[in-house]
């Protein structure tokens, strides 16, 4: 490696910063979709770098399912405080109350599907023309073909057959009235890249990512946290275990993993040797082999 060569983390960082700046330059009213997970924490970190010493020139949008781990909300508020970013929250509870969406019932009830409607509603209300997301192409089959600049029609839909080719580092964010873009600056990062980078950069993370003792139960091979909002079947007996989250999402569908990882370095060695993809712990993806793709077409991501 010669003196003028970036290592892979710095090259990914530079690419993501380029995309973030491109969004600030090409769109009038962008927003960063903030889920509370490590990928959106990474996005905020990169956005700070991209616009330093100015503040991040767009707000963060969090869709609160009302079923978040309390740690997630606490961490989010601290992050907003620390970065001086503006926060907008879309509440699924409000959407249920107003009749925009209807709550699912039963054992596998999840508000994940409802998130989509609330997200689209919040984007429309805020008149955002670009929504930045922390999705990565390595996460799931349907995402492997996602563009950095992903065009959505006026219904927020994604048409995999009608995506603009992306060449070199030329991004085409032109659109008609009413249309918008989803932009994914960390498309080329893998889970391992994200962890390695967060470690190198010493980025603060929510405690949920590290091993802690929690009451859990098993369902369809996945460990779920015991919380008042998940109905348990009789045979689903809770037990105390050392666990951690690999993704942070809605409590009803985010699996936890038996783990002893106490530090980011521990997590890296765990990720490097693990035999399950991180989305493997999300019951919403398992509903069918193409479920992500189906949700995506209707605007989930």
């Amino acid at each position: 490696m010669n003196q003028y060569h970036l290592d892979h983390l710095r090259e990914l960082e530079s690419e993501s910063i380029f995309i973030l700046r491109e969004v600030a330059a090409q769109f009038e009213n962008p927003v960063l979709m903030f889920s509370g997970g490590k990928d959106s924490i990474l996005m905020v970190h990169l956005a700070q770098k991209a616009f330093f010493p100015a503040k991040i020139p767009f707000p963060l949008l969090h869709i609160d399912t009302g079923h978040n781990f309390p740690e997630t909300i606490r961490f989010r508020d601290e992050l907003v405080e620390r970065t001086g970013a503006r926060l907008i929250v879309g509440h699924v509870d409000d959407a249920i109350a107003s009749g925009l969406v209807t709550e699912e019932k039963g054992f596998n009830a999840s508000r994940n599907g409802l998130q989509t409607a609330v997200l689209l509603d919040s984007l429309e209300k805020g008149k955002f023309d670009a929504a930045l997301g922390g999705a990565r192409r390595d996460e799931e089959k349907a995402r492997a073909k996602e563009r950095f600049f992903s065009h959505r029609d006026e219904f927020g839909q994604w048409d995999p057959k009608n995506q603009r080719p992306e060449l070199w580092n030329l991004f085409n964010g032109k659109k008609n009235m009413g249309e918008h873009f989803r932009v994914f600056p960390i498309s080329n990062w893998t889970e391992l890249d994200v962890w390695q980078y967060l470690a190198v950069e010493n980025v603060p993370l929510p405690s949920l990512y590290f091993a802690h003792e929690r009451e859990v139960f098993e369902r369809d091979g996945t460990l779920l946290a015991v919380t008042p909002i998940i109905q348990r079947r009789e045979n689903e007996v809770p037990k105390k275990m050392m666990v951690r989250c690999r993704t942070i999402g809605d409590m009803t569908c985010t699996g936890v993993w038996a783990s002893k990882a106490q530090t980011t370095e521990d997590i890296i060695s765990e990720v490097a040797t693990t035999r399950m993809t991180e989305r493997g712990g999300r019951t919403d993806d398992k509903r069918s082999e193409t479920s992500m793709e189906d949700r995506k077409k209707t605007g989930y991501f």
Binding site: M1, N2, Y4, H5, L6, D7, H8, L9, R10, E11, L12, S14, E15, I17, F18, R21, E22, A25, K49, A50, F52, P53, A54, K55, R137, D138, K141, A142, A144, K145, P160, K161, Q163, R164, P165, E166, L167, W168, N169, L170, N172, K174, K175, N176, S187, N188, T190, L192, D193, Q196, V200, A272, T274, R275, M276, T277, G280, E289, T290, E293
Partner: protein
Amino acid sequence: MSNNSELLRFTTAGSVDDGKSTLIGRLLYDSKSIFQDQLEAVESATLRRGEEGVNLALLTDGLKSEREQGITIDVAYRYFSTPKRKFIIADTPGHIQYTRNMVTGASTANVALVLVDARNGIVEQTRRHAIIASLLQIPHLVFCINKMDLVDFDQVRYEEIKEELEGFAAKLNIKDVAFIPMSALNGDNVVERSLAMQWYGGSTLLYYLENVHIGSDYNLIDARFPVQHVIRPNTDEYHDYRGYAGRIAGGIFRKGDEVTLLPSGFKSKIAKIDTIDGELEEAFPPQSITILLENDLDLSRGDMIVRENNQPRVTQDLELMVCWFDAEKSLKAGGKYAIRHTTQEARCVIKEIRYKLDINSLHRNQEDLEINANDIARIFVRTTKPLFVDGYAKNRITGSVIIIDEGTNNTVGAGMVR
């Protein structure tokens, strides 16, 4: 994987059924980049198709529609890493009408893999893909002579194909060409050396990918900094801060450098190269940085910082090799479009279509000038304002443009500056 490994981007091409998906599946599988749940999903999908074992090709099949048709229809990106490098694969389909996808995947690649079925040897697609790789100036081209198991791992057959490819590749403008005989299905010479082909003394594909020299794939000589975004914090602490944010497109910039600003031609000096992590003494491609100048010259997006004695062409007239993407409307002389180059946007008119390139024979066709989707043509355009360009061969970043239809906003063409 260590933190300081390099990133290598490669693209794969070949005609349908040459074994591209199998090869990628094999690379992912043998480099242990496949997760248990992905493998289980593929095993069950293999069974549902009435096949046995693990169909490695299914690992890389992305979307439902193509799973149904059994062909890859769009560029898909895959990731794997070894202790030496992280790899990004742009998996592009071999179908004839999807030249656009190959061009897209090739535009950022360091290496192109072109698969050849050892039974068939060079076919139309092989030529086409190699020509595209050379047009897009991918620095390294590897011909993967696949399915060697079906020709009894015969050295004579391999040498025959290699010789023919060498003759053909000599006519192309590619810096570095390599040949590897392999069986993607059985894994010979992909990650592990082939026991059946002891006569082959070269490296395996993975060894090649891990070691090929990519340090000089960026232009480190001609300093080019397109201003992407202007940073003005407007806070008390940074009251007079005016930073030019962007990604270095070429050359090395140092604090204190005398620079020339385009289009004004004014001169200044680099006061500071800024990042959140502190000042840098020097910066190089593809770093994203912020440059502060000594005097306040009010640059904006699309302007370029260069050096006095090494400037790009400042011109409204471009000669381009263009690949056309629009399936509905052909490229017409007199047509008006939006054009994007680095961080600039302008409008342009197509002044002349010089010839259509037959990408099977490299023949320049001056009679039939109807340029449809997936055609490649040499054209002249005039832009509404000056662009700061280099020849594509000199710099892929400052030598490339995209053409946008102003009615649909679609990207309808990709152009490389002569």
